[in-house]
Symmetry: C2
Subunit: 167 residues, 2 copies
């Protein structure tokens, strides 16, 4: 979540602020993924990143849709958590020369990103329902489900890598 | 994950670095939770934070145990992601005067912390197995399971709050 741009007095303020936070996060992920696609050496991982880039662009559009439904202009606020996760991912993948290590680091970083998004979309959908905005919750839950699926796909790739090494 | 203290050349380096990262994160959570317990107004939420403080102290001890099993001194590296999540939690709970908003913000922040830990322990346990250290993986998975349970408990509290408002 980002540094506060205005005081949070109501649940509605909190909802809008967190929407601005995830809007920022999704935009940063759209910027970061092409580099991850380029760097990943495992074909399955490369493919997972590629497919998630398309999904992430749709997530940005859905978040803009929720802003509109809620009568707010789409606006992003800086989020130190996602910035921290992404800067760490860049640093480690820049440093790793061994493809096995690079892929492991990229996979872990991507799962940290997914988990951040899962928790934020889960929260946003719950707050939307609390605010009586089931319509907004439904759209947010579409992003939530896709993030969960992306995380499960990454776990499956990670497990396949562990099993391959263990054989 | 933290800023790099030494180059990451092998999966073992990556494992140790991420262990240092979660060691730092757990320590920051031990420091942050008493303030959250004090601030939360929902008795169930206060109780959940209280019980998680005890668990978190055990997690620190288990991470120290894994360092020892792996022949490394316990050391923490700064992790911008957890710092971002915690500083945001402090900022929002300082700002919120309404108890409903404060509890909602504190709950969401705690779930973001849990998800960060879930992803890191999941990764660490997988890497431990890949490195042939099932003994370390077993200890890390104890922390992982407790973080998952804590997150589910927070989700149940969040859902109860939504239903209470919706009635």
């Amino acid at each position: 979540m980002g540094l506060l741009s205005k005081p949070i007095k109501t649940l509605d303020d909190l909802f809008v602020h967190t929407l601005q936070d995830i809007y920022y996060a999704e935009q940063q992920i759209v910027k970061a993924l092409p580099k991850m696609i380029e760097k990943a050496t495992d074909p399955q991982l490369k493919q997972a990143f590629q497919s998630h880039l398309g999904e992430t662009k749709n997530h940005v559009t859905r978040v803009e849709q929720v802003f509109k439904m809620h009568g707010e202009s789409a606006k992003a606020v800086t989020c130190p958590a996602i910035d921290g996760i992404i800067s760490e991912a860049k640093e480690i993948t820049a440093d790793a020369s061994d493809p096995e290590v690079l892929d492991a680091a990229a996979l872990a970083a991507a799962q940290a990103v997914e988990h951040y998004e899962i928790t934020r979309y889960g929260t946003l959908a719950a707050w939307a329902r609390q605010l009586g905005r089931n319509d907004c919750a439904t759209v947010l839950e579409q992003n939530l489900e896709e993030e969960k699926t992306a995380d499960l796909k990454l776990t499956a790739i990670a497990e396949a890598r562990v099993n391959r090494v263990a054989v």
